[in-house]
């Protein structure tokens, strides 16, 4: 089943027939985590490095039905994904990550948000001891991502 993960959401699955998908990624960062031994995968489409002063995740969680839980903030999304993968029987030690996104869509406009999102995700993965297996980040093109849980293959598509 194709599971679409929207901006600010996250999903984890162990069903081998599932594809986790997210479409039209710009300055956000998509983090995929995969336990290849047990074939459990997660995908977060995170907007920002860190939480602002006010917390609204509970509202997001209540508004969106599972499996797409909140993935708005990178650090929290990665923590949440690791926790959910472990609940499904996965092991943090076996996880490998891939990063996609962090673009600056308006090249004449100086924005650091894409870069900051990627840097934050890399730092967090390093802190958690998770190997970065691949990345397609930066630049100025939007991307769509499809993560096949059976194989662990992540496909990144751009359009012209």
């Amino acid at each position: 089943m194709d599971i679409e993960v929207n901006m600010g959401e996250m999903a984890v699955t162990r069903r081998h027939e599932d594809n986790l998908m997210t479409l039209g990624v710009g300055s956000c960062v998509v983090v995929t985590l995969y336990d290849p031994k047990r074939k459990i995968g997660g995908l977060a489409h995170a907007m920002l490095p860190a939480r602002l002063g006010t917390v609204d995740d509970q509202e997001l969680l209540s508004r969106r039905p599972p499996p797409a839980a909140s993935g708005k903030y990178i650090e929290a999304a990665i923590d949440d994904m690791i926790g959910k993968i472990e609940v499904l029987g996965g092991s943090k030690e076996d996880l490998e990550a891939k990063l996609i996104g962090g673009a600056n869509m308006f090249t004449d406009f100086e924005s650091e948000i894409g870069k900051d999102n990627v840097a934050c995700a890399m730092k967090k993965l390093k802190q958690e001891g998770i190997r970065l297996a691949g990345e397609v980040v930066g630049g100025s093109k939007g991307r769509s991502v499809e993560f096949a849980v059976a194989s662990g293959i992540v496909t990144v598509k751009i359009k012209f």
């Binding site: 710009g26 609204d56 708005k72 406009f109 894409g114």
Partner: protein
């Protein structure tokens, strides 16, 4: 939000559509789809995430801080370029530097007219910055304005306006985000 501010937005959108009508020589219908205080990421799904669009993004500073994004689906942008650059209808299949410059100017004119009304009615100073252009997937382009904004504010006054160019059957989508801090200081209970 007060009905007063909704009216102001309708007037500003009307002025922006008038400017667009003059520019292309065709009637342009306008509809303020929504003008409400919302979470920055909560937008109407007016187009599919992967639909190819062009976007003209402008920052706004002064007494009111925010950003505007004028979006045309790619086919609409091609039709609009035919009109703006004076080509035969159906000729444009990719955008040249001249087309991009003309579309940026459309963004500039639409936003300029919108903000002129807002500035006059609210008696505030609004400074528009230079227009920035991108051609890519709708989701990716909208994400940029949302994430840049969401970094500072969880919520905003979000205004969504749809333009319909009837004779040409093309559509445009105008998204505006305003920071609440300055608006609250200016409008108080009227916000």
């Amino acid at each position: 939000m007060s009905s007063n501010l909704m009216e102001i937005n309708k007037m500003a959108a009307g002025k922006a559509s008038e400017a667009m009508s003059k520019l292309i020589g065709n009637d342009v219908g306008v509809d303020v789809t929504s003008a409400a205080i919302r979470k920055v990421g909560d937008l109407s799904p007016v187009l599919a995430s992967e639909e190819m669009v062009v976007g003209v993004y402008m920052l706004v500073t002064g007494d009111v801080k925010g950003a505007s994004l004028l979006i045309f689906p790619q086919e609409s942008a091609f039709k609009l370029s035919d009109v703006l650059v004076g080509r035969e209808p159906g000729t444009t299949r990719s955008l040249t530097a001249l087309d991009i410059s003309a579309l940026k100017e459309v963004g500039n004119i639409v936003a300029g007219n919108y903000f002129a009304v807002l500035s006059n009615l609210l008696q505030v100073k609004i400074v528009e910055h230079i227009p920035n252009f991108s051609s890519d997937m709708f989701g990716a382009i909208v994400e940029q304005i949302i994430t840049d904004f969401a970094r500072e504010s969880e919520q905003a006054l979000v205004v969504e306006i749809e333009f319909v160019f009837k004779p040409l059957t093309l559509k445009g989508y105008f998204l505006l985000l305003f920071r609440l801090e300055e608006l609250k200081a200016l409008l108080g209970e009227n916000l």
